[in-house]
């Protein structure tokens, strides 16, 4: 339906006074992609979105769409759609008035407006809500209207600024699927801003992890999830256990042996590590296997300190004999004080350069 863009290319720097909130943030987005800017609050992801929308000016840089430079255009001339965190519906207009707003500005015939608004309301599954005011709707309904209001103009690019963060957990999952469905069915190009890694992984074709205004890693959800390029991304993507080590040997297939603090760990890496270099071995709590075998390569004895029952399994903190603490998610029933063995499957252990050693990529 929508005539979407072929490509979006930008390079932006933004400073507020002496503070740099975006440092040479550059990216190329292809048509029909779903791209997510992911990062903690204050990383500059919303600022970047607002600059793309034209709501705030960039300090330096340019934005190109299909070979046309657009960063001098005011927001109303860009033909983008935007959905805001707090919905930003016009409180003095009905649902119909809100969705019809942009069409009326384009001076469309009344019959066409009516038809398109109705179509949109059906698309977001709120057909009987035309005459309500935003104040009479729930948060989820308001967000659907906000999405409909942006989509009805057939935007060539959709910008979504944490649209789900004001909703409760159940509604969030429901709306997530809804957004994905609309994106795919309508053939949109979308840029989505969030601090929630699950949202980013489940929605996107391409995830851009940001910190302090700098792009840390960009890739497919699988790459970001399995192959974080540095400690920050690893930490943000749920790696919880980090062990400082020294590289012992590196094999051509990417597998690495390393040791440190009385632990010998085998894992894999995508970095050019050399024997003798300092590194960090990382593993997710879910990937640690708990058993009773003797200690050996990639398996470590420890005592159970704390067990939290989570329904589907247990979150366990182990005090390893080496002195380190280990977070583990396991379906095994263990009791505090019990001695167990924690096994690190080598393909689940990644080795990263330490912080500050070429971290940003």
């Amino acid at each position: 339906m929508a005539v979407t863009i072929q490509s979006l290319r930008f390079r932006i720097t933004k400073r507020f006074g002496a503070k740099t909130v975006l440092r040479d943030f550059a990216l190329e987005v292809r048509g029909r992609q779903f791209v997510t800017f992911l990062g903690p609050s204050g990383c500059g992801k919303s600022t970047a979105l607002n600059i793309l929308a034209g709501l705030i000016p960039a300090t330096d840089g340019d934005v190109w769409i299909d070979g046309e430079r657009i960063d001098h255009l005011p927001p109303e001339k860009r033909g983008f759609g935007m959905v805001f965190q707090n919905y930003a519906l016009f409180p003095h207009m009905t649902v119909f008035g809100n969705i019809a707003f942009g069409l009326q500005l384009q001076r469309r015939p009344a019959a066409e407006i009516r038809e398109r608004v109705r179509g949109m309301l059906e698309l977001v599954q709120l057909p009987a809500f035309e005459d309500r005011y935003p104040g009479q709707l729930s948060g989820g309904q308001q967000q659907r209207i906000a999405i409909a209001r942006a989509l009805v103009l057939q935007p060539r690019l959709m910008l979504l600024d944490e649209p789900l963060s004001n909703l409760d957990a159940k509604l969030r999952i429901e709306m997530r699927a809804e957004i994905k469905r609309l994106h795919t069915n309508l053939g949109l190009t979308s840029i989505y801003v969030t601090h929630d890694q699950t949202e980013a992984l489940s929605l996107s074709d391409w995830v851009v992890v940001m910190r302090d205004g700098v792009l840390m890693q960009a890739g497919t959800p699988q790459e970001i999830h399995d192959q974080p390029r540095n400690l920050f991304v690893a930490d943000f993507m749920g790696f919880r256990n980090f062990f400082p080590v020294q590289v012992a040997s590196v094999h051509p297939d990417g597998s690495v042996e390393a040791a440190g603090n009385g632990m010998r760990i085998r894992g894999r890496t995508r970095h050019a590590l050399v024997p003798g270099a300092a590194a960090v071995a990382a593993i997710r709590p879910d990937d640690v296997v708990v058993g009773q075998q003797a200690a050996g390569s990639n398996s470590f004895r420890g005592k159970v300190e704390i067990v939290e029952y989570l329904g589907r399994g247990n979150e366990v903190i182990l005090a390893l004999e080496t002195g380190a603490r280990l977070w583990v998610h396991t379906p095994e029933r263990v009791t505090p004080g019990e001695s167990v063995t924690a096994v690190f499957p080598p393909e689940k252990v990644i080795l990263l350069p330490p912080e500050g050693a070429g971290g940003a990529a």
């Binding site: 409180p91 005011y133 935003p134 104040g135």
Partner: protein, 273 residues
């Protein structure tokens, strides 16, 4: 580009207004120190004698005493009357509450000249008109509601749970008031206090209508002297104006330690949708 020009125009207007204001205020100041000033950019000679002249000829010592005691009394009484009412209006729901709020709002909305004349008439009928007590009573009419409206949001900010928690720990109503509410509303009391102070000192109409010869405040005395322009040398009137201005400025400096400038005017809340 057009946006920039537009913003520039706005700032130029503000600048113009401020220059204008500074001109008005400094004209009074320069004139108060002038020996003679007649059609020149600045006076030819300066003197401070108009201040001593004004002080003795306008009986300023007594007027200043009256002004400050009126203001002090109004602050204390308005807070005592307004504090409990603000608490109830912030905390409780009852039928007729909107009406009650409207009633408290009216003395602030209706200009003082409109209700000042019947109020003055009534006060004179009971022989309170013309006395310092009468001036205090009249000034309390807008100031009690002002205290209520300033204090209300401060009570609304204090979580009910604090009071309930204290009660669960065995505090009775008086102890809750003394140990929880009072300390937590100190900022509100300060805000209300300084705003009432500044407003009472510069409040003209009600004081003008109710005060007599012995109960004039500074601003009323100033009015009579400006009104009788030519009876006294204009420099001495300006000297008195400078003394009034100094009083207000000192109070304003004090006030701005506790409140933001925007709190000095009416607060309009966004309608809750």
């Amino acid at each position: 580009m057009r946006g920039r020009l537009w913003g520039l125009a706005l700032y130029l207007f503000v600048l113009g207004f401020i220059l204008n204001l500074l001109g008005i205020v400094s004209h009074v100041m320069v004139s108060a120190f002038a020996k003679r000033w007649f059609g020149t950019p600045l006076p030819t000679a300066f003197t401070t004698e108009w201040f001593t002249y004004a002080w003795s000829n306008f009986d300023l010592g007594r007027i200043l005493t009256v002004t400050l005691s009126v203001a002090g009394a109004v602050v204390v009484l308005a807070l005592i009357l307004g504090f409990p009412a603000a608490y109830i209006l912030a905390r409780r729901n009852f039928r007729g509450k909107p009406l009650l709020l409207l009633l408290y709002f009216l003395p602030l909305l209706i200009p003082q000249m409109t209700y000042g004349i019947p109020l003055a008439t009534t006060l004179y009928r009971y022989a309170i008109g013309g006395t310092v007590a009468g001036v205090i009573l009249a000034n309390l009419v807008p100031m009690v509601p002002l205290a209520v409206f300033i204090l209300m949001p401060f009570f609304e900010q204090i979580s009910m749970n604090l009071e309930w928690g204290a009660a669960m720990m065995g505090a009775n109503r008086f102890q809750v008031f003394r140990r929880i509410l009072l300390p937590l509303t100190v900022p509100g009391l300060l805000t209300a206090g300084v705003l009432i102070l500044v407003n009472t000192v510069s409040n003209f109409e009600l004081t003008f209508l109710v005060s007599g010869a012995g109960s004039q405040t500074l601003v009323v005395a100033l009015f009579y002297n400006v009104f009788a322009g030519g009876v006294r040398p204009v420099y001495s009137v300006d000297a008195m104006a400078v003394m009034y201005m100094t009083t207000v400025m000192l109070l304003l400096l004090l006030a701005l330690r506790f409140v933001r400038p925007t709190q000095m005017v009416f607060r309009l809340d966004q309608p809750q949708r």
